[in-house]
Symmetry: C2
Subunit: 404 residues, 2 copies
C-alpha cells in the first residue's frame, strides 16, 4: 500500500519521560522521506478504535521539544486490554486510514497489547509493522537492563526518603513511606539511594519479592527503634503474605480491579495507615507517621533524571529505525554496555509481552529488609546528574556544667 502513514500511541501509567519517546518517534519518523504522515492516537488503543487521531506532522519541532520535557502522556493513555474483537475493530480503522506502522509506548500490559495486535494483523494478512517501546516506573519488563520512566521515579523516591529521613531525625519517631510497585520492588528499593550516613533511613525496606510477616516486621521496627531512637521504613504497595494475598487488601473493603485483572493498590492510604496502626498499638510508640507517595512519584513535575530523558528519547528514535530498516515486529530493549553506557536491541514481542521481571536475588540483602551494593551500583548512574545532597553539623558538643 505504501501510504507512508505511521501511528504512535501511549498506554498504561504515565511517566516523567514518556513524552520523550513520543517525540523521539515523531521527529525521527519525520526524517524519513517515505513517511508522509505521523498520527498520534488519543488515549492509546481506545483512540484507534474511536478513530481519534492527531496529525503530529502538523506540529512544530519547537513545541514537540517542549512537550518532550513535560511529564505524563501528552496523547492521553488507557488501561484497555484489547481482546480479539477489540483488535478487529483496531484493524478496521487502521485499514481505513492505511496505517503501515504502529508504535505503542507502554509497559507490561501495553507490550501484551502490541503482541495481540501484531498477531491479529498477521492472521488477517494485514501488513502492519508493530513496535513496542518500553516504559514503566516499575522497571518490570524482562529483557531490559531497565525501563524508561523508572530512573526518574526512582530519583523521586530516593529524594523523598532523603528528605523524610532528615525530617524524622529532627522530630524522631517511626515513618512509613509506601511506594508503588505491584510485583517488582525496584522502585521501593530506590529509597536506599537516599541514604548517606550509616545511621540514615530507610532503615528497613520491604519488597514484594519477599514474603511479608507482620510479627517479623514489628520485631524489625522495634529493634531499629531501640538502636537509633527512630525508624524510617520503605514499604512496597505490593507486599503480600505467604499465600500471595496483598497486605493492602486485608484492609480494603471493596477491591477495585482494572481491565487487566489487577487489584487497585495505589490511590489510597490504607496500607500505610494499617502498618502505622499496628506499630502504635503493638509497640506502644507514640509518634508514628505514614505517607503513601501515590501519584506524586510518577507525575511530579520537576524531578527527572537527565539520563532517563536521553534514553526515553533514544528508544523512540530506535523504534523508528528498527521499523524502517528492519524486517520484523518487536520490542525495543535497553542493554547496558558499560558503566555507564547503553545500546538498544529489538527483542521478539513474545519475549517481553505479559512477562514480569522482579528484583534479582543479588540485589536483595540476605536480611530481606535491605538492598545490596550491587543494586546501588546498578541504580546510581540511572538517577542522573545534580542529585541533591544532605549535610550534617559536625560541631563539637559543649561540655556540660550541670551534669544533665
Amino acid at each position: 500500500m505504501a501510504s507512508g502513514k505511521i501511528l504512535v500511541a501511549q498506554g498504561g501509567g504515565p511517566t516523567a519521560v514518556i513524552n520523550q519517546s513520543l517525540v523521539g518517534v515523531t521527529l525521527e519518523a519525520r526524517r524519513f522521506r517515505n513517511v508522509e504522515l505521523v498520527y498520534g492516537a488519543r488515549h492509546g488503543v481506545r483512540g484507534i478504535v474511536n478513530e481519534d487521531f492527531y496529525d503530529l506532522t502538523q506540529e512544530t519541532s519547537h513545541n514537540l521539544e517542549l512537550v518532550a520535557n513535560t511529564p505524563s502522556s501528552a496523547l492521553g493513555s488507557t488501561r484497555d486490554k484489547p481482546d480479539i474483537k477489540y483488535c478487529q475493530e483496531i484493524f478496521k480503522v487502521l485499514r481505513a486510514h492505511q496505517i503501515e506502522h504502529f508504535f505503542y509506548i507502554g509497559g507490561n500490559d501495553s507490550s501484551d497489547t502490541v503482541s495481540i495486535v501484531s498477531l491479529e494483523a498477521q492472521k488477517a494478512g494485514y501488513p502492519l509493522r508493530c513496535i513496542h517501546i518500553p516504559k514503566t516506573i516499575d522497571n518490570d519488563l524482562v529483557g531490559n537492563d531497565h525501563t524508561p520512566g523508572f530512573p526518574s521515579a526512582a530519583r523521586f523516591v530516593a529524594q523523598a526518603f532523603a528528605g523524610a529521613n532528615l525530617d524524622n531525625a529532627s522530630l524522631p519517631g517511626v515513618y512509613v513511606g509506601v511506594v508503588m510497585g505491584r510485583h517488582a520492588g525496584f522502585l521501593t528499593a530506590a529509597s536506599a539511594l537516599g541514604k548517606k550516613f550509616h545511621d540514615d533511613g530507610p532503615h528497613l525496606i520491604y519488597l514484594p519479592e519477599r514474603t511479608f510477616v507482620l510479627e517479623k516486621f514489628l520485631a524489625d521496627v522495634k529493634a531499629t527503634y531501640e538502636r537509633f531512637g527512630r525508624c524510617v521504613i520503605a514499604v512496597s504497595e505490593g507486599i503480600h503474605d505467604a499465600s500471595g494475598v496483598p497486605i493492602a487488601s486485608l484492609l480494603a473493603k471493596e477491591l477495585e480491579h482494572d481491565a487487566h485483572g489487577n487489584v487497585q493498590l495505589s490511590g489510597n492510604g490504607a496500607l500505610a495507615d494499617l502498618l502505622c496502626e499496628e506499630i502504635k498499638s503493638k509497640l506502644k510508640i507514640k509518634r508514628v507517621r505514614g505517607d503513601t507517595f501515590g501519584y506524586l512519584q510518577r507525575s511530579f513535575i520537576g524531578c527527572v533524571s537527565d539520563v532517563d530523558q536521553r534514553e526515553a528519547r533514544e528508544v523512540g528514535e530506535k523504534a523508528v529505525q528498527f521499523a524502517m530498516w528492519g524486517s520484523c515486529d518487536g520490542s525495543v530493549a535497553i542493554r547496558r554496555t558499560g558503566s555507564y553506557s547503553v545500546d538498544y536491541e529489538l527483542l521478539p514481542l513474545e519475549a517481553v509481552a505479559g512477562k514480569t521481571r522482579v528484583m534479582e536475588d543479588e540485589f536483595i540483602a540476605s536480611s530481606g529488609t535491605d538492598i545490596t551494593d550491587a543494586f546501588r551500583l546498578y541504580l546510581r548512574p540511572l538517577l542522573g546528574s545534580g542529585m541533591p545532597d544532605a549535610f550534617r553539623l559536625r560541631a563539637k558538643p559543649v561540655t556540660k556544667l550541670m551534669n544533665r
Copy 2:
C-alpha cells in the same frame, strides 16, 4: 556578665530552608567581636533543659553553607511547649552557661515559647535577649507578608498539582490531593499556581477558611466531572464542618493530640480516603484516586525556592543585627516593599506569639472553591526561579473516515 555567648535553636516542624536561618544566625554572630561562642541547642528548648549543646563556633563556614542548603532542622526540633516550671529549668541552664542571647527559629508555637521565656527572664531579672525567627510552611504568622519555609512548600504543592493534573488528563477520573495546613489555607491554595491552561486542575480548592459541606462538595465534583470529564481537587487537611469539627476527625478512631493540644491531622491518609469513598459511592464515578502529600511537602529534598532560601538566610542575619544593635526582644518579620522586594522589622513578641493568620478574604474567590488573581500575584514571586512548565500538543485532529 558580657560572656559573649549566644544560643540558637530550632522548634516545630522542619522546613526546606530552616537551616538557612540557623546558618544566618551563626555566621552573622561570628562576625561580631563581642560574640565569643555560638551554641546550638539540640532539639529546641528540650536541648536547653537537657544541657545538650553544640559549639557552632567550632564549625567551618564551608560545612555551614552545605548544611544551610540541606532541608530539615540540623539541630533537631521539638514540639515541647514550656510552662513556667520548664522555663525555670531553662534559666538554670542558661545561667550556668552565661548565655546572653537566645534565638529561636520556629512558627506559632515557638514564638509563644520565646515569649514565655522572655517574660520569665524579665521576671527573674536575668539579662537575656530573646529573638524569635519566623519559620512555618503554614504561612500563618501574623505581622509577616509571608514566612520562610512557606514558599518552598508552596512550590512543592504547585509542582505536585501540575504533575497530578497532567496525570489525571492522561487517565481521566477524579483526583483528590490533601495538603497540610491546620487553620490556614495558604499551602492548599498554592496548588492553583500549578495551573496553566484554563481547563487544568486543580478545578476545586477546599480551604479551612470556608466551612466544608459534604453535599456541596459532591455537587461541585459532579458538575466539574460533567464539564471536563475529569476533576482534580486540592483539599486542606484542616477542612471542618460548620461547628468547627475537622472532617478528618469524623473518620479517625483515636485522635492524637500533641503538647499544644493540636489534633494530629497529618501522617495518615484518612481524609483523602474518606472523600474518595464518598465520591465513588455517591457519584458512581469509578476511577477516583486520593493522595495525602504528607511529609513530602515539607521535607522533599531538591524542591526549593531560591527566594525562600535567601530570605530564610536574611531573617537569621537580621535577628543577630536586631539583637546586637537594638535594645528589646522581638520577632523578626518580613515586610514586602516592592514587586518583588522585602525588608525586615522587629515586632514585639506579643504581637506575634500565639496568634494565627488565616487567608485574607481578598485571596479567596467568591465561589469558595478557587483563589483570586490577588493571591496569584502575591504567591508567584515567592516560588522563585526555574519553575518547571507544562506544554501540550497543538496538532490538528485527523479527519475521521469512519464516523466513529
